[in-house]
Symmetry: none
Subunit: 218 residues, 4 copies
DNA sequence: TATGAATGAGTCTTCATTCAT
DNA sequence: TATGAATGAAGACTCATTCAT
């Protein structure tokens, strides 16, 4: 699971794949940016990891910043929307939905590709405020809205005791985020650190007990 | 020429230079590194923010990396130890101690100076694995040990239901960490976002209820 | 691989390629070189202006320099010779011939295509001394020879007072050159600047008076 | 008189001369730009010819374009103004003034430093329209105004026959300009080509005769 | 013939670091 | 101690040129 710079060897080395290139480059860029940060990432490294040379990147992107921004936009992209809809149709107990939702978020963020993004956002928010804004609006707020909506429903249905849904949503997500960040930050220095399964299970356990209405067994 | 004064040779690399070192440089470095990350931070910016010129920094530090590492070490430094001792002497209920402990951690991390460090660690763990290792060992593990120790005590005293203390400690700290990161990441784009008081209060409320032994009112 | 067609190998370096060569490329090259100079001219711009793609240029020319040199040679090419002969057959008064000759030169240089060449020569003589030499020998000296020949004839016929024919030839041509350069240099910034008709008429007027033998009405 | 890249060796090699640097750099830049044109000129060449290294240039100028523009502005600078005033005070015959004026212009342009500028303007007007505009307004139009003013005076005083002063001014200046350009363009390929003294004398001779009132000996 | 994706040498530009003062 | 002019290695970016199709 270590992200050492080894050029990805695609099927055959010399066919032209105009369509595939940008995606490959973004994928390579993601891992380099996540490793080094924006400033320390070298275009040549990105190119090498994508199996091309410097110049090729500039066929598809204006410059380093463009690669970076495209990355942030493309990676989230599609799946978020589908996740949203899925939740809306659900009619069962809020407790179950909440767990499922948080698990979806965890899955979403644990995907090898996307796991690096929170780190990038945190690291580069100072250099790219628009990036922070974009992510805040397009991803974080949307995800939090889904969670807080579920909590609100739970309160209405009497499954949860009355709590502030917005703040509680953040509390629900916090351990998930921390887990992602933790794994990204410390994976290189101690590979086994955190059993995510167990960690999540405990989180859900304590959380649901903590949200249970007074006098009721959760 | 022979009469020129020897440039100050610091005891190689990693020693503390207590007397002469202007803390202003480290303070300035902290804010610049937090804003830009290591690579994008310019020595001239640090110098300017410290009110000196580039050259002066090299009187006290070997190079940029030395500034960065010194920073990470010096900033934590003293206060952590004192906090540790304070906890050991405490004999009251674990619930109270836990809250107090978490509040201390929050205070520690919310200090204007130190708030930026988690962000730096996250951002630069890829470029400076030793830094991650140092922080993990010197700060995080120690802090988590205090928390998990308290939880263990609470379980022994029957205040908490039986849970894995190590994992629970992380769950306790997660929202605090997230709060710090959140404020650092999004403060520039929406200044009011998170009422930390309220956020913590809710965290403690849900957490304690979640940890309460079965059938007992927390 | 063995069945691949041999790339077209032009007779090394400096031969004319009459048949196949799309004059459009040279024409396009002329305007781009005139606008940007040799170094700043991009092959892609030339290709675009010629309605082909970069690769195509290399079917007809070895490289950028070859395009440039071909250009300088081809553009002058044919018409100069014809102009020369025409002059030799003339038998009327030198004054009339001189005017006609200068007007021919002006026409030659004012042609949309060729107007840009003096500028190119001036700009690139440093980078391409052979170009300067070629032009000096093939165009300038020949043109000046025609003019000075006419002046010499005029002196012999008593139409002009005795002057140095070579230097006078340059004086005759100077305003024409300056007009061409002027229009090329300043056309973008003030479109009307110079009425060439009037400018030439005045030049001829002053010149002929200035060359008239003492005591004679010109 | 050949402009080979030999680094100028200033008095002592290692003293700091903050004030002198920019001027030295501009001087070096002038000769490199004149030789190669803007695009082909390498910052390293300019630096070498100024006896410094690349980086030093950026202490004084923003970038290559800034060097170029500063150059165009600084070089003209002071002397033009003084020349203007000198002419205004003159009260003698216009013919004499005209000659003196043209000679001043020739001197101004023949100065080793400035001789390269017309070539640069011509070559780079396409890439730097503002430069062309600046020079047109600040130098050319002012110089032409002085000449045409003198001609107008000459007409009023009956020394010249009635001609359009603006166009005539250009005709007066044309050979001077052409001489400067000629020397710059062909000096490398035939060093003796043009005796400027003689060329100017002939120009004045023909010009004054050409401008003399009808029936009057000039 | 023609294309245009890919290459990589060549430049500008930045900035950590040095050092004479 | 402190300065800041100067250096030069490093990296972003461009574009002439190649070559598989």
């Amino acid at each position: 699971m270590s992200h050492v710079a080894e050029p990805v060897k695609h099927a055959r080395s010399w066919t032209r794949r105009k369509q595939a290139r940008p995606g490959e480059i973004l994928e390579a860029a993601l891992s380099v940016f996540a490793e080094k940060g924006f400033a320390a990432a070298r275009m040549e490294d990105i190119a090498a990891r994508a199996g091309v040379t410097k110049g090729t990147i500039y066929l598809y992107f204006q410059n380093k910043e463009d690669v970076f921004k495209s990355l942030a936009r493309e990676i989230v992209g599609n799946r978020l929307a589908s996740a949203t809809k899925q939740m809306h149709d659900y009619t069962g107990p809020a407790r179950e939905l909440l767990i499922r939702l948080l698990q979806t978020i965890d899955n979403f963020l644990s995907d090898r590709e996307r796991a690096m993004l929170p780190k990038i956002i945190i690291a580069e928010s100072g250099n790219f405020p628009e990036l922070a804004r974009f992510w805040r609006a397009e991803v974080i707020d949307k995800a939090l809205a889904m969670v807080s909506g579920t909590i609100k429903r739970g309160i209405e249905r009497g499954e949860f005791r009355p709590v502030d849904p917005e703040y509680t949503a953040k509390l629900c997500v916090a351990p998930i985020m921390l887990g992602v960040i933790w794994r990204n930050t410390f994976s290189a220095i101690d590979p086994v650190s955190l059993d995510n399964e167990k960690f999540l299970a405990m989180h859900f356990d304590i959380l649901l007990k903590g949200l249970a209405p007074e006098g009721k067994k959760p």
